[in-house]
Amino acid sequence: MSRLNSYRELEHLRLRLQEQRKNITTTVMVCGGTGCRASNSQAVIDAVRKELSSQGLDQSVRLCVTGCHGFCEQGPVIIIEPGNIFYCHVTPEDAFEIVYQTVMKGKVIERLLYEDPGSGERFKTESEIPFYKAQDRQILSQNRLVDPCSIEDYIVAGGYSALTRVLNGITPEGIVKEITASGLRGRGGGGFPSGRKWSQCLEAPGEEKYVICNADEGDPGAYMDRSVLEGNPHLILEGMMIGARAIGANKGYVYVRNEYPLAVKHSQIAVEQARELGLLGENILGSSFSFDVDIARGGGAFVCGESTALMASIEGKVGEPRPKDVHTVVDGLYHKPTTLNNVETWANVPAIILNGSSWFASRGTKKSKGTKILSLTGRIKNTGLVEVAMGTSIREVVFDIGGGAIDGRPIKAVQTGGPSGGCLPVDKFDLAIDFDALSEAGSMVGSGGMVVMDEETCMVDVAKYFLSFLQDESCGKCLPCRVGVDRMLEIITDITEGRGRPEQLDLLEELGETISQTALCGLGKTAPNPVLSTLRYFRSEYEAHIKEKRCPAGVCKALITYSIDAEKCNGCGVCIRACVHGAITGEKKQVPVIDTQLCQKCGICRSECKFDAIQVI
């Protein structure tokens, strides 16, 4: 495709592409996101493509390999339009039937429909499925419209219209005003008002300025940024272009985790395509605006999610944060004024420009506007990516969308906000997803991770997990984080291994508060949160570990023993053969015995036993 030299040429291209697609009667959307790829969706894609071509349907049916649809647990997922038919757990062997029955004859294949694990009811369309029905998918729903590797798809779907509008008569001050009025707050964790950030950067003196997209989603257990960047990279680029126009930047960076190979690849392709069409480069669409983007691959350091550390990393240096006496909007990348927002924040920008700030602000609570994407995972029925209006309660997300507990085990808590957030107990589930409400309760919205925990999750172990994560990831620059987190981990390890003393709980609290007051960067300041929040809401579990030397959830290895439930065991002997430590012995058709001296509690026998006969006490 040739370079577009004016807004009119972009509109002509859009009309031409729409015209070309007029004859398409059916679209088959197969998810090619990381989750579905892990469930072998590539083989499904190949099989459907082959089948379409052998039936001579290449011209009238569009096969669209899309980004993440969100319902990863059900992958590989296919949606067929018209009809909004939703098929899950599709295998390559199903391709013939899908093409022959559904695409050609419009018949629905019952066995591929989603079945509600609770009621057993089957749903024909995507929009009827409870997981989707209760959501408000403003950003995620765009993923299904486009092949992330096709700029044409994005343009047909109305892409780059917000950029045209901005270049066609909105002043930089006007853009900033619109973003400020929308009430958009940073989706990366801090919840800082984006409009204020942009406005400070616009006012900061200097010719050279930068915009950065933070796609270094280091929060373990969260993957919304991966899915948005991987599934709709042009949306992020368009957001960044508008931001660059607003603050007066000519250069931008997408800093993306190298652990997300597909996101790296798709954003690189998107940048190349945008350059080819002249949407990046000199005099974009014939205007005076020039802007280009480079992709910087992250080195796998959690601390690089912190803005100053991230900027050091783009400069090719060790990613250590620095004190923010002067904010990065004034003194950022290469000491120039820099606006850094995360993927989801940028993704919201084009729609705010197109639909207006009041449209955006119509959703949400008083101080948290718009929608939020959450990564709903852990011990719950429906795991996946969820987008809801701010203000939705945790209960609605966990039970209405997530479908509640697996295997009937009661849900105990939800962890929000990753290593900087905290664990909230069930009696706090009426709290709204709102930046301020969750912070007051001792947790945070963070980037949107929501890990559900049930009775088989030990809260002390969760706290220990986050501490070891943070100790491992601490960059080591400031003492409170480097040494303080280490000491906290020592204490918690003592507790989980049966050496805990009652007075250590107060010491943990005191240490935690000291770290949060004295650490250098935001990640250090929030590092004690997982411990402080579990101490606040689940103190009894700590006490059981210390006083009774017992792990109520059956997780902490030093405090549990494995045994065999004679009532459930049928003497099949699978565990005897499975145990690599030779700890299980017994005769055929008899209940075997576990030698507790030899048993390493590795869990192999538990996962091999089909009768759930291995008990943990």
Binding site: T34, G35, R37, A38, S39, C72, E73, G75, E217, G218, D219, P220, G221, A222, Y223, R226, R257, N258, E259, P261, A296, R297, G298, G299, G300, A301, S313, E315, G316, K317, V318, G319, S375, L376, T377, G378, R379, T383, G384, L385, Q415, G418, G449, V451, M453, T457, V462, Y465, F466, F469, C475, A578, V580, Q600, C602, G603, I604, R606, S607, E608
Partner: protein, 160 residues
């Protein structure tokens, strides 16, 4: 795709210290690890002191300073995988293969790594073997995976 040489990796990046991490990523991708030779060559090519190249290469988790095993088993230890038992998988791999994360088995076949999140949280616990994802893993499934990979290797030897 034939591996890029250090010279090709440095092309267009010479005397640009800010390209250090990008160059290291390419070295790692092409050679599997960052050798002493690569560190020296990047230092000269980009104009970054040797000490700084080493400091950056050792700071970031993504870079390996020693060669990896033929099969790299990467355990995801993100929160979602953790609450579904990924710790048991890591413990099992360590005890079965007799090496710690970051080390290689004496026969050079396996190395164990752990990563904070692979971004497929809904399908956890995840184990990746040279980039292919295995989802909903259990210690029993991991045992079978390691056994299958080992068998492939010994079978391959017989063919030779």
């Amino acid at each position: 795709m034939p591996p890029q040489t250090l010279d090709t990796i440095l092309e267009g990046r010479r005397s640009q210290p800010s390209q250090l991490i990008e160059a290291l990523q390419d070295v790692q991708q092409n050679y599997g690890y960052i050798s002493q030779e690569a560190i020296k060559s990047l230092s000269q090519g980009l104009g970054v002191p040797l000490m700084e190249v080493y400091s950056v290469a050792s700071f970031y988790k993504a870079f390996r300073l020693k060669p990896a095993g033929k099969h790299v088993l990467t355990m995801c230890t993100g929160t979602a995988c953790h609450v579904r038992g990924s710790r048991l998988l890591l413990d099992y791999a360590i005890s079965q293969l007799g090496v710690k994360p970051g080390e290689v088995t004496p026969d050079g076949l396996f190395s164990i790594e752990h990563v904070n999140c692979l971004g497929a949280c809904a399908l956890g616990p995840i184990v990746s073997e040279n980039g292919s994802y295995y989802h909903h893993m259990t210690p029993a499934k991991l045992r079978k995976l390691i056994a299958t990979l080992s068998r492939q290797e010994t079978g391959g030897d017989n063919d030779v």
